[in-house]
């Protein structure tokens, strides 16, 4: 299991922009790569896991702290 390879700052962006940032980043990575994304729109707690489910990626962790939402996502086999 690899550690986080890339960190994205999607704070102050509104959905679906954080999802788009994550998608455009993940699409360029190899399977198994982990990407960490920091957001302020609470909608990401729903949208990013949904996006991961339908595109075959995995949410490794998600947490909220002081109105910030941090998710770590691992690129799956199906997603390219």
């Amino acid at each position: 299991m690899s550690d986080v390879a890339i960190e994205l700052d999607a704070r102050r962006l509104f959905c679906p922009m954080p999802v788009i940032r994550l998608q455009d980043c993940i699409n360029r990575q190899l399977v198994g790569t982990r990407v960490k994304i920091a957001c302020t729109d609470p909608g990401v707690m729903n949208d990013i896991p949904t996006w991961c489910r339908i595109n075959g990626h995995k949410v490794i962790s998600s947490q909220e702290k002081d109105h910030e939402y941090i998710l770590i996502v691992e690129k799956g086999k199906d997603g390219d």
Binding site: F14, C15, P16, Q23, T50
Partner: protein
């Protein structure tokens, strides 16, 4: 050989049904969703506190999950400006350039299928469903001006239109497609029931803020007062938030209506002059307009104080800050209600 189609997914029922009809014919379907900056999805529930507790779901993602398909979300904010500013086919009832918008999105989808080796495009359009973009005469315009031509299939009304390549080549069976037309939603609802779809989104006006009268008035006001029709993403986001009050052509106030909007507007402190009540609980206001005279600033403060808990007080103290640089306190008498004319509200 499995044929592949890309479906334009708005998040509404029609695109959900159109995609399912094609999936049922053994076609591999993936979804594409365009983010213009005006989409109803997302923002407002993220901003307003009262909406924060509602289920936050992105309908396009929800639709894709129902269908079990991949969804590609594409940021077209920059390119889309030209469509909003200069629509060749004009606007609808408000500032919605629906026909140009449709053509543009199908054109982008056409580029996408070429890059990704897909065979055709599907949309949830229905003849006569929407007054501007979904009329019988406009259907061929969308097909030809987008460049997609007969690779654009509308499964919900295909039987009312000339056969497209996927039908002619027998990739799909035309007899299994639909002949919906008109404004009635009943056939769609019956089909949704048959497919077992529930809890789908039913947007009233359309898929974006440009169909909204109050939003369009604010956008028009922004353009008129700037003397040109340009906008940045922050401009169009701010039009979705707060009370917009323009006492004079030279400046406009954006005043938060509640805590969530206060927090949202706080993020713009570095880009705007701001006013915040300090002696009483009250909203944050952004000032849009440069070099205000002392009298104009006092008026701006008096209006902001009007929306604070000190509205009945003899005087209210406020903090004025210029792009987070200089700041000073100002003391004013809140503007009495009768001195705040309705015409100052932009809505």
């Amino acid at each position: 050989m499995t044929r592949k189609a890309v479906a334009l997914i708005s998040g509404g029922l029609d695109s959900l049904l159109a995609a399912r009809l094609i999936q049922q014919q053994g076609i591999h379907v993936e979804g594409i969703n365009f983010y213009t900056g005006f989409c109803v999805e997302g923002h407002t529930h993220a901003i307003r506190k009262k909406d924060r507790d509602k289920v936050k779901r992105n309908n396009a993602l929800w639709v894709a999950e129902q269908l079990g398909i991949k969804l590609h979300i594409i940021d077209i904010v920059e390119e889309y400006k030209d469509i909003v500013i200069n629509p060749k086919h004009g606007y609808g009832a408000n500032l919605n350039p629906c026909l140009d918008c449709k053509i543009f999105m199908v054109q982008k989808a056409y580029e996408w299928i070429q890059e990704n080796y897909f065979d055709f495009i599907i949309t949830g359009e229905v003849i006569g469903q929407r007054p501007m973009s979904q009329r019988k005469q406009t259907m061929p315009i969308v097909s030809s001006e987008s460049g997609a031509e007969d690779l654009l299939l509308r499964p919900l009304c295909a039987q009312n239109l000339p056969p497209t390549k996927p039908e002619v080549e027998d990739w799909v069976n035309r007899h299994l497609l639909k002949d919906f037309s008109g404004r009635s939603r009943k056939p769609q609802m019956a089909l949704a029931k048959k497919f077992g779809f529930e809890n789908y989104a039913q947007p009233a006006g359309g898929c974006c803020f440009l169909t909204d009268l109050s939003y369009s008035v604010k956008l028009q006001d922004l353009w008129s007062n700037r003397g040109n029709k340009q906008y940045e993403i922050d401009d169009i986001m701010l039009l979705k938030v707060g009370r917009h009050i323009r006492p004079e052509p030279a400046f406009k106030l954006i005043i938060a209506r509640e805590e969530g909007e206060n927090r949202f507007l706080t993020g713009y402190k570095g880009q705007f002059q701001t006013i915040k009540t300090v002696s009483h609980a009250g909203p944050l206001a952004l000032i849009e307009g440069d070099s205000l005279s002392a009298a104009q600033l006092e008026l701006a403060c008096a209006i902001t104080a009007r929306f604070s808990k000190g509205r009945e007080a003899d005087s209210v103290e406020l903090l004025y800050a210029d792009h987070e640089k200089d700041s000073r306190t100002v003391r004013v008498k809140p503007l009495p209600a009768q001195e705040l004319p309705q015409e100052w509200y932009i809505a």
